[in-house]
């Protein structure tokens, strides 16, 4: 190709459908004969269900199915630790937990039916504090923890307690480390639960079919995970389940795994096979779907006078809420990054997943890293303050570099990416070495802050994905794969890769948008920023396979050896005779000789890729090789704060990420901006609030606020650093989650610089600032 397509800001392939309203989401789908589901939710955080009377609801004309926990108690759903039922069974464990589900002709009838249901509860004392939950006399949220199925050897529940998993890291000798240290600094950090706030709420439709089959349409990130977990949970063979994912209105981890799919499946079955649709209301999205976990961290850091950190002891108490299925994995994955992007020789880390009676935890963009790095990057600031050292210098001194070993013992190389470069880039963007600007008024103060980050995909060691390329009659190609593009732009990047590999215009590459487990090759899940890495490699593999076939078929009519055949600009020729060529369109479905003889047949490129060389981590020491690739990053922030009201403005911000290679620059910038603003939300305004009984107080947009156009930092500079990843497609590594990580500490560090206060709990509200100023 004359023009290099890799790195170009090619127009998003889904843009036209989206700007015209043509793109259909599950929200928009209606099936013939479709029923509407509604759920009755727990008004209590923790209670025994004494009785449920659904008789009146069942008699209501237009009601087709009513399900309670009693009807579905034999089914358990889960991926890592199978602790979830489809509806509450015997007990409710959080405010908002689905208790009864109804399917009816109309939403109005379903709603009316819910009102006819009588439930008697016996309230129990809820477990709301993660610290207290780990104490001996705490009420137990899951008495049957010992019986729950889980990934053996990977997760370690402690039956009889509220601890669903205990992950450990032991590196070096912690006692020696502290003995060597000149200073020991101890602190506690906290951040509350937050919601993903995808603009499309969770929605699923199921149609139960004869022969114990089911077809599902869902706003899901991972069609194959839905199929697998539904199959395992309901005892259905994989081949009897078809999962379709059309356009998805945002996910951010909240639509990973499985959600309402089993419920609509069982409702459809109970309704004799009529399709059933459930659309979570915004309130349900806040009340009844999983969230990012809260985290209480304790840090003890040993540092030498010169700033060299020699020992770190860490305890993470993850408030995983009422279920820990996904939470256990966050605890492990983020635990493995628990010291931040620094090289520390002696580490003792304990990461505990703790049950409470709150909304339960799941993946959220960054998979535990925003939470963990909130603590590490605040702790660095405490250390710098103690030593009287420039926070930039302290970081520079301790960062991971080529030759360093991570806390799980992995050695880093030159090509692993550079956190140092990211740090320098953002420091430069904010003129870190120069004096701060004066505040704009006497009652205001200015401050600057830095924070670093790193994250590797959190995934099983053997994650793989496939890709399939098929020619169309006109010589264009269709790419199918089951990675879901719910807004990240991966499909556009993959189209660019195909275009480059096959030497054809990008608009001749059709990435089949709708995902379907029946027709597409397998992918584990669309999570962890591994999409472009794994699927990109699979797509390259598919291109290679297709090219090989093209050359083999063309070798006949061109009368040449495959070694000398070139593919360029949709033409196939022998390298020294470019004018004597076969067009792709004349070979895609097989080549036909002038006399009518056909050869080759329809060409199909098959590609696959699996994570290579990753290992499980040791139970006692956490040592192992869990990281596919590390993406490093840094933020620098300047704030101006009103000292009387605590109100503040992020006046300037820069963020840099070493993403290996930007395949599509515009989309990468989009990821950085969008991610940064989500991190900004976590930093400045977001967080669930509960009353003393565990009732959610923030379950509408009226009281759960996210950033708007008027809130975002006005002056934001995204910076791309490119240290190619050896095994990444074109050197690329993931960058979807990273932009939001460490935004909160960058801002808190700037506030500390401005006012001299140390705020160690989120969100950083003006009130929080005033509170600290008053107690200073």
């Amino acid at each position: 190709m004359a023009e290099d397509i890799i790195g170009k800001s090619v127009e998003r392939i889904d843009a036209l459908a989206k700007v015209t309203g043509d793109a259909q989401y599950v929200h928009d789908l209606e099936l013939q004969g479709m029923l509407h589901a509604k759920i009755l939710k727990s008004p209590h955080a923790f209670a025994d269900i004494v009785s449920i009377d659904t008789s009146k609801a069942e008699k209501l004309p237009g009601v087709w199915a009513v399900l309670t926990g009693e009807d579905v108690k034999q089914y358990k759903i889960g991926l890592y630790l199978v602790d979830k039922t489809i509806l509450a069974v015997d007990k409710v464990r959080y405010h908002g937990e689905p208790v009864v589900a109804v399917a009816a002709e109309t939403e109005e009838i379903a709603q009316h039916a819910l009102e006819l249901i009588e439930i008697e509860y016996n309230e129990l004392e809820p477990v709301l504090d993660v610290k207290k939950a780990t104490e001996k006399d705490s009420p137990i949220v899951h008495e049957d923890l010992g019986e729950y199925e889980h990934m053996e050897g990977v997760f370690f529940p402690e039956p009889g307690t509220n601890i669903a998993n205990h992950f450990k890291i032991r590196k070096g000798d912690i006692d020696d480390g502290f003995a060597e240290a000149d200073h020991i600094i101890e602190n506690e950090f906290y951040l509350p639960q937050v919601n993903h706030v995808a603009m499309e709420t969770h929605t699923s439709i199921a149609r139960w079919k004869k022969g114990r089959k089911v077809k599902i349409w869902s706003s899901a990130q991972s069609p194959f995970a839905v199929r697998d977990l539904l199959g395992k949970g309901l005892g259905l063979p994989h081949e009897s389940i078809e999962v379709v994912v059309p356009y998805v209105g945002g996910g951010f981890g909240g639509k990973a795994g499985i959600h309402f799919e089993p419920l609509v499946t069982l409702l459809s079955r109970a309704a004799g096979g009529r399709p059933v649709k459930f659309v979570a209301s915004r309130e349900e999205e806040f009340n009844s779907v999983p969230v990012r976990q809260a985290l209480l961290s304790r840090f003890k850091t040993g540092v030498n006078e010169d700033g060299n950190i020699v020992a770190q002891e860490i305890e993470f108490l993850w408030d995983s809420g009422a279920n820990a299925d996904y939470g256990v994995n966050v605890t492990k994955a983020a635990g493995a990054a628990g010291c931040g992007p620094y090289e520390i020789d002696n580490v003792k880390l304990d990461s505990l997943t703790v049950y409470t009676n709150k909304l339960y935890g799941t993946a959220y963009r960054g998979f535990g890293h925003l939470e963990v790095l909130w603590a590490t990057e605040r702790q660095m600031e405490h250390v710098a303050k103690k030593l009287g050292m420039d926070p930039y210098e302290l970081r520079k001194k301790n960062i991971l570099r080529p030759g360093s070993r991570t806390i799980t013992g992995e050695k880093l190389y030159e090509h692993s990416g550079s956190v140092g470069k990211c740090l320098d880039e953002v420091a430069k963007a904010l003129n870190w070495d120069q004096k701060k600007e004066e505040p704009s008024a006497p009652h205001k103060a200015r401050g600057r802050g830095l924070a670093l980050l790193h994250k590797a995909p959190a995934m099983p060691t053997d994650v793989g994905a496939g890709a399939l390329l098929k020619f169309n009659e006109n010589g264009s190609v269709n790419l199918t794969l089951s990675l879901v593009d719910y807004g990240q732009g991966t499909y556009t990047a993959l189209a660019q890769i195909v275009a480059d590999q096959l030497s054809m215009p990008v608009d001749r590459v059709n990435v089949v948008w709708e995902n379907n487990t029946e027709t597409e090759p397998y992918d584990w899940q669309t999570v962890a920023s591994k999409g472009l890495f794994i699927s990109g490699n699979a797509v390259i593999d598919a291109c290679k396979d297709l090219k090989k076939q093209m050359k083999e078929v063309a070798a006949g009519p061109l009368r040449a050896s495959v070694d000398h055949i070139v593919l360029e600009d949709e033409k196939i020729y022998v390298n020294h005779h470019p004018d004597h060529y076969i067009e792709y369109k004349d070979i895609g479905m097989g080549y036909t000789y002038p006399n009518g003889n056909g050869i080759g047949g329809p060409l199909m490129g098959r590609g696959r890729y699996i994570a290579q060389g990753l290992t499980n981590m040791d139970k006692e020491t956490g040592q192992g090789l869990p990281a596919l690739d590390w993406t490093f990053g840094a933020h620098a922030v300047e704030v101006e704060i009103d000292k009387e009201t605590g109100e503040y403005e992020v006046v300037k911000m820069a963020s840099a990420f070493d993403l290996g290679r930007a395949i599509n620059k515009q989309n990468v910038i989009g990821q950085i901006q969008g991610g940064m603003v989500q991190g900004f939300g976590s930093a400045v305004m977001e967080g669930y609030q509960f009353d003393g009984e565990g009732h959610i107080r923030t379950n509408t947009f009226t009281d759960y606020k996210i950033p708007t156009t008027m809130d975002i930092p006005k002056d934001f500079t995204p910076i791309i650093v490119e240290t190619p990843q050896v095994d990444g497609p074109y050197g690329a590594r993931g960058v979807a989650e990273h932009p939001m990580i460490s935004v909160p500490p960058a801002i808190a560090n700037a506030i500390q610089d401005a006012l001299g206060i140390t705020i160690d709990e989120l969100p950083l509200t003006p009130e929080n600032i005033i509170e600290h100023l008053e107690n200073k």
């Binding site: 109005e108 009387e644 009201t645 009281d703 950033p707 708007t708 156009t709 809130d711 009130e767």
Partner: protein, 284 residues
């Protein structure tokens, strides 16, 4: 989900009052609906009858005269005020308050009268209208009456209207000579949000007038006319007493939006800043 209801759309106030008298069950007037429809959707409130007043021409009045001041009819929306040259010139504080109310789309529907009738403690238009001096023009089965806005708010989401009454509009006093006024709002975010504290101030050195009003810091908006204070005392003493008075007059609570303590602080800081901005430093 909204429950079954009967929708009516009368053309006149008379018809409306008749409907209010004759409809069975709970009946609500509907203006912009940005308060009512939200409550209906959340099932917080479900009227059997909804009377849409948007067909009543009389309620669309928006007029100003030197002598009478401003007449702001029941259907005038927040955005109408924001984009009205007359309001920008004569009552810029109303523009400020409207700009701090909700989002552009909501302001296209939300009426000023609906904001007042909803009687939410944090209603953003209340403080500005209070400092300007406003009367509520009410029509009912027994005739018409004018209720001073201060007396209109009787409790959280409760107003002084009686069965069958409708607000025709608001009468806002003619601008005081040489006055300046402004509205400060503290919310959780900079984008659209309900107010955690709202403070309106008005001052005229020429006429010796100093007034403040507060939203979201008590069950109903709080109004303070401290003109006498500034007439009698020197600036410093008056200012100090004003600050004490503010703290004594408000009774904020702690809720999802803010804490009592912080609300008190903000009410104080905003009052002081508004005083400095509108009155300036020093005695009259």
């Amino acid at each position: 989900m909204i429950r079954d209801l009967a929708y009516h759309k009368p053309d006149t106030i008379k018809e409306t009052i008749e409907l209010l008298g004759s409809c069975e069950g709970k009946t609500s007037l509907l203006a912009g609906g940005t308060d009512l429809v939200v409550n209906m959707r959340k099932d917080a409130y479900h009227p059997d009858n909804v009377i849409d007043v948007k067909g009543i021409e009389e309620l669309k009045r928006l007029e100003y005269s030197e002598d009478e001041g401003l007449y702001l009819g029941g259907l005038v929306t927040c955005n109408q005020l924001i984009f009205s040259e007359m309001i920008n010139e004569k009552y810029p504080v109303l523009v400020e308050a409207c700009k701090k109310h909700s989002s552009h789309q909501i302001r296209n529907r939300a009426t000023v009268v609906g904001n007042i009738c909803g009687a939410s403690p944090g209603a953003d238009l209340a403080p500005a209208l209070l400092v300007l001096g406003t009367e509520v023009d009410v029509v009912g089965p027994n005739g018409e009456r004018l209720i001073p806005l201060v007396d209109f708010f009787t409790g959280v989401k409760r107003n002084a209207l009686e069965e069958g009454e409708i607000v025709r509009g608001l009468k806002v006093a003619s601008p005081i000579k040489g006055y300046k006024a402004n509205y400060s709002k503290k919310a959780r975010i900079k984008g659209p949000d309900l107010s955690a504290v709202g403070v309106a101030g008005l001052a005229s050195r020429e006429e010796g007038v100093v007034r403040f009003a507060f939203g979201a810091v008590a069950p109903t908006p709080v109004y303070l006319d401290v003109s006498d204070l500034f007439a009698e005392k020197d600036y410093k003493a008056a200012k100090e007493e004003l600050m004490e008075k503010v703290d004594a007059s408000i009774s904020p609570i702690t809720d999802v939006r803010s804490t009592e303590k912080y609300r008190r602080r903000i009410a104080g800081v905003y009052t002081r800043r508004l005083l400095e901005e509108l009155w300036g430093e020093g005695d009259k």
